[in-house]
Structure formats: C-alpha cells, structure tokens
Amino acid sequence: MTEAPGRPQVVRPRLTAGKSVLLTVPMMLLTAMLLAGGPALPTDPLLLTSVAVTWVLLNVVFFRMLSTGRVFAYRSALFVTLAVAFVITFSTALLSTRGSLALSDSDIVQGKTPFCHLVIPFVIVPGIFTRTIIFPGTLVGTFASIGSMIVLWLGATLALGRAWCSWICFYGGLDEGFSKLGKRPRIATVPRWLTHLPWAVLIAVVLLSAVSLSPVYCEWLCPFKAVTEAPAITNALVIFQTVLFVTLFVALVVVLPVLLKRRAQCGLFCPFAAFQSLANRVTAFDVRIDRERCTDCGLCVRTCPTFSLTEDSVRAGRTLITCTMCGRCVDVCPSGAARYHVKGTGINASANAARTLFLFPAFVFMSAIGGGMISTAIWRLLRLATTGSMF
C-alpha cells in the first residue's frame, strides 16, 4: 500500500497471502452454506447471480482484511453496503407481504410488526414484571419474529459484545456511511458530557416503557422509522411523530455524522448502543493500546467513530466500555499500538492471532445476517433492471 505524502507510515500486522488464502477457505465454505440456504443452488439465474456476487464480495473482503491487516476500511465498506441492502430488502419485503410500508392499526393489533433489536432493552423490565412483551410483534414463526431476533442477538452478543454495533447492526451502517462523506470534520470535538447521553436515554426510555407498557422509543425517538416503516398517517399525533422521526434521522444520521465525521446516532444517542456496551464485559475480545508502542499522538482519540477513546483511556491502555471493535484505531495507529486482544492474554501476544480470532466470529455473524440481505437486495435490483419491477 502506498501512503500519501506527509502521512506517517502505519505499522500494521498482516498475514502472508498463503496464510490468508488458507484462512479464507473455511469462510468460503461457511458463506456458501449460509447464502445457498440448503444443499441445492437456486435455479433462478438472477437469484444465482446475486448469491454468487454476494459470496465473492464477502470472501474478497475477508481475504483482504487478513492479507492487508486493514480491518476498518473493508469492514466499513461492507457494513455500509449491508445497511443500504437492509433498507432495500426490508422495504420491498414489507411491500410484497403487507402491501404498504405504513403500519396500520390492524397490523399492530395482528402483531405483524417485525421485531427489531433496538427494542430489546425496553421489553425486559415489563417482561419480568408483567410477563408480557410490550411490542406488537409475533413471538415465533413470522418474518423477524421476537423469538428469532432475541436468540440471534443473544448469540452474537455473547460472542462479540458491542461489536454488534459495528459488524451486525444494519442501522449503524447508515450512520457510518454518512460519516464518511466529506474530507474533514467541520466540528472537531464534542463536549464529553454529551457522550453520556445514550445512557440517559436508555434509563429514561426503559423506565417510561415500564410505566406506559409501550415501546416509547419506537413511538417517539427511533430515527430509522424514517427509512423503514412508520405508523400510517391517520391523525395529527401521527403527523407529529413522523416529523419527529424524520427530524431525528436528518439530524443524527445525516447532518451530524457529516459534520463530525463520526457516528453521531450510535455514539451520542442510541440507547441500545449503551445497553449493548454492557456486553463488552462478558465477551472474550477487546481492543487494547500497547503503552510501550503508543506515542500519545491522539489520532485514535480524534478519529474513533463512537467516541470510545479518551486521553485517559489511552493512558490506561484501554478503550472505553462503549468500544464497538470497528477497527478504526487499529487501522490508523501509526505505531501499531492499538490492536485487537483476547482477554486473558498478554498485550504482547501475537496481534495477528488475536485479530484473526476476533474476525472469524465477527465475520460469520456479519455474513449470517447481512449476506442474505445483500443477496436479496442485489436480486431486487437485478429484477428492476431486467423486468422493470422489483417484485
């Protein structure tokens, strides 16, 4: 890789091409199984093409992560693709199954609302005390049912902790996509107290959901309603809610990420992100700063997308609990001090081994959840191009 003139040479551990190929082979087999969804390949040529393109994309990205040592750059490209694919797949799935993106009262009563992981923290307390799930979805057997989403989330959370937010969350990719626009940040710093806001929103929404026995976040604060589904506009209250959703989306997912060049929604607002941070305590992986290599240049602190590094935390050789293991600090660190780490091992243990051990589960979950979305989105777009209709 050729570095731009004037930029420091980045010390980045990487694997040889041979080792990278060898380690990519199991991923090729796994992703083939995941994308094919069975022993036989799809017969529809468009579907077969979309599955093949997705398979190649996933494995090229994984191979490049291993061989170049650049995790953030490749993950980010795939992550943004996943988010865009989610919007296309989800919207078209709703249009074909329900006939509309708008959520009617009848859909809510019949429990036809797809469950989303952002709601998980808010259903726990009422679930314990009232033994009911305060969400108008179905427990099992439907598209994005409550049971399947919770099982998926639990597995990924135990394996990855808050890495969920940078490897799986299909909303985070939108935030990240906008944060990559523009050359340099227009707002260089945010007040430290503002980075505590997700915890405050989490506390407030959990308590208010418990009182009102309704998912307050979905009803009032979810910016992603603007690009997925929202209640059908039937009265002034819903108009107000819709205006709120669009405003939050524009402010938190578009404008602020562009101005900050960081993930404003994920780092400064999302209550699920705060909740998910707690899982970093149980997962086997984290990102550490090797103090012997660190030159205290502050580059990692200035560029961390989710505000998960401070001067103090760098001095302590750690990230904050909110770290999403996105790989940004690992990629930009000029001295190779920031590195993936397996808990219980020394900081001087092989950086390559720790990174590879982390990449396998992270990429498997990313492929398991995002692979199908990307493949379906490509299929929809191919259908649109060849037949003039996505359905």
Partner: protein, 209 residues
C-alpha cells in the same frame, strides 16, 4: 393494617410510576447511600403531602369520588407539566458543565433550598393520576371521617414506600462522576416526555371540553 397491605400489594406498580422521576434524581445526586436515603425521605415526604392533600380536598368538598371528574385532563395536564418543568430545571440548572460560576436564578434557588427539589418532585408525583393512587382513593372513599381518610392514605403510602428504599443504593455509585451527569441528562429526557404528556392533556381538555 388493610391499607398498608394494599400498599404492599401495589408497590411494584407504584415503583414503576415513581421510578422515572426518582431514578434520575438518585443518580444525579449520587453522593453516598446516606445522602440518598435523605433525598428519598424528602421525596417521599413530598409524595405523602400530595396524597394527603388529595385525600383532604376530596373529603372537604364532599366529593369522595375518583379525582377530577370535572376538568380531570386539565388538572393532571398541569401537574404533569409542572413535574416536567421541575425535572428540566433540575437537569439543566444543576449540570456542572452547563452552568459554571456563581449560581443565579433557578440554580441559586435549588442551592438555597436543596430539599425543595426532591420534595417538589415527590409532591408532583403524588398528585398525578396512577393506578395505585386510584386504588387508594377508592379505599379511602369508604372512610366516614377526614382522619380515617387521611390515615388510609398514610398507611397505603407507607406500604408502597417500602419498594422505593432499594433505589437509595444508587447513592453508592458516587465514585463515578459520569453517573451524576447521566442522572441529570435522564431527568431532562423524562422531563421532555412528561412535558409532552402534560401539554397533550391540556390541549385535549381545551380543544374538547
């Protein structure tokens, strides 16, 4: 004994209704368990005052019926809005980063009478409509004297208050400065929600009398 047991039985619901106000306060003022117990006592004192006021007012007017059969929305809308404004004032004006220097206005007021904040929040929580409150009201309606009615409310209040005590353990988080910031920001979030609820109730009452 019956009202006390009734309070114990509905304590969890009562806790759910008070927690959005009490938890941000406990986190925002996390300075040890002893200090949190004092805050809790002040909050509960205010809440008891709210309960007793309602009991007395209902008895005095000779209308021992669920509160607010007339202009219920307006009364509770105003109560919600007042609670919201107090929470917002607490969240904004007690923030060490937002207001540096010599305290003035609301911040000075909160410093001069520190008990006014928790007691005020407790009072406004006490006068808001919630299922346990209605339960107590229905029970107190059976009393023939004002003292019987007040005693019923007081014992019911004692039963529900047992559930609030564990929240004072939040004071043990005083080592973490961030917890206090989170508590105050949470107060602002809850305040905004209650402001919306209050304004909505008032608007509905005014638009559809």
């Amino acid at each position: 004994m019956q009202p006390f047991l009734l309070g114990l039985a509905s304590g969890a619901t009562c806790l759910a209704y008070c927690a959005p106000v009490l938890v941000p306060l406990m986190l925002g003022e996390a300075r040890g368990v002893r200090r949190s117990l004092l805050l809790l006592a002040q909050f509960l004192g205010g809440r008891l005052a709210g309960y007793l006021l309602f009991g007395f007012a209902a008895w005095a007017t000779g209308r021992l019926a669920p509160p607010g059969t007339a202009h219920r929305g307006l009364a509770f809308g105003i109560a919600y809005a007042a609670l919201a404004l107090l929470l917002l004032a607490y969240g904004v004006f007690r923030s060490p980063t937002v207001c540096a220097g010599e305290p003035r206005g609301v911040r000075a007021l909160l410093r001069r009478w520190p008990a006014a904040l928790p007691a005020g929040l407790g009072f406004l929580t006490g006068v808001n409509l919630c299922p346990p409150f209605l339960l107590a009201f229905a029970g107190a309606a059976d009393s023939t004297s004002v003292w019987g009615s007040l005693l019923f409310f007081a014992l019911f209040f004692a039963g529900t208050s047992v559930f609030m005590v564990p929240l004072s353990l939040a004071g043990g988080l005083r080592r973490f400065h961030a917890v206090r910031i989170v508590g105050r920001l949470a107060a602002v979030c809850v305040g905004l929600y209650y402001l919306y609820v209050g304004v909505l109730l008032i608007v509905r009452e005014v638009a559809v009398p």
